[in-house]
């Protein structure tokens, strides 16, 4: 299932892309991210560990990203979250001509069990999570 959330952020495209690209900023922007450790970064490919505060406690996830300045970031998780077969996604950065950039976050996932109700519930939670994070990025970038 593919889901997406969009937000318009006022600012320079390079700054906005840079905020999403620089994983070390995530701990400052997103309060549930407790730690980000960069394992590899050649400015195109990134491998990282991110420790996230979940209701059940701290969870460390491994991610891989492909950075395409200044238009797209791709991500996938080689060890998907519990119950998830795969989890991958993108952020697209689409500038308009008035110093506004539309950031479109998409996630493509499949659960291990074929359960449409569970999939819809998961999708709804994921959409809310994406929306919250996009709003936090917007606030951090526009109020800096």
């Amino acid at each position: 299932m593919i889901i997406s959330e969009t937000i318009s952020i006022q600012g320079d495209l390079k700054d906005i892309y840079g905020a999403f690209c620089d994983l070390t900023l995530w701990t400052k922007i997103l309060p549930d991210i407790k730690n980000a450790e960069i394992l590899y970064d050649d400015h195109i490919h990134q491998e990282f560990l991110m420790t996230v505060e979940r209701p059940a406690g701290l969870e460390t996830i491994r991610g891989v990203r492909y950075c395409h300045p200044f238009h797209t970031l791709e991500v996938f998780h080689p060890v998907p979250p519990p119950g998830v077969k795969y989890m991958r996604g993108k952020w697209h950065f689409i500038p308009d001509n008035q110093d506004i950039v539309d950031v479109i976050a998409t996630r493509d996932f499949e659960l291990i069990t074929n359960n449409p109700a569970a999939e819809n519930e998961f999708a709804e939670k994921l959409k809310n999570y994406l929306k919250t994070n996009l709003n936090l990025f917007k606030a951090a970038i526009e109020n800096k």
């Binding site: 590899y40 050649d42 991958r88």
Partner: protein
């Protein structure tokens, strides 16, 4: 992707394989079968594969007979006829290493271009491959990577053209 920036060194090698491009792409995509066909690949530990992204650890025989273990992460895109890779834990003498394969069908053959890009970890590279009157450190590293790439391409050509796969 083959125009990627930020890498000081790189090369491309091409070979024509007389098979449809999708056969060649599929052979390179299906890494679980490599130990059956590639003599230097002893074992593949598949860590992740969703068809588009793959992560695996490959155990290969080096030129001195030792078994080397290499972890690679790949993005396989059938639509753009390209497979890209990077090594998050490259050999000690490399700081970064990535590359890929592009597949173009023309004149009844699949033209496979492999490309490699890398940055050196200078101190370790200079220690392991000291410059001499014939070759610099960088040239020696390039020769190693290029020889591996050429060997892989020519091996795939034999496997695919002889009908082994």
């Amino acid at each position: 992707m083959s125009d990627i920036k930020g890498f000081k060194y790189g090369f491309e090698e091409e070979i024509a394989i007389k098979r449809p491009w999708l056969d060649v792409y599929s052979a390179l995509h299906n890494l679980k079968a490599w130990p059956e066909y590639l003599p230097h690949v002893k074992k593949i530990d598949l860590i992740y594969d969703d068809g588009h992204y793959q992560e695996f650890r490959m155990h290969v025989t080096s030129t001195n007979g030792d078994i080397l273990s290499v972890r690679s992460i790949r993005k396989c895109d059938q639509n753009s006829k390209e497979i890209q890779f990077f090594q998050p834990e490259p050999p000690e003498y490399l700081k970064h290493h990535c590359g890929g394969w592009r597949f173009v069908e023309k004149d009844g053959a699949c033209h496979v271009t492999t490309y490699h890009k890398w940055n050196l970890k200078n101190e370790i590279a200079e220690d392991e491959f000291p410059s001499n009157e014939k070759e610099s450190t960088a040239e020696q590293v390039e020769k190693i990577l290029k020889n591996h790439a050429k060997l892989a391409l020519s091996t795939w050509k034999v496997i695919l053209e002889e009908g082994i796969l």
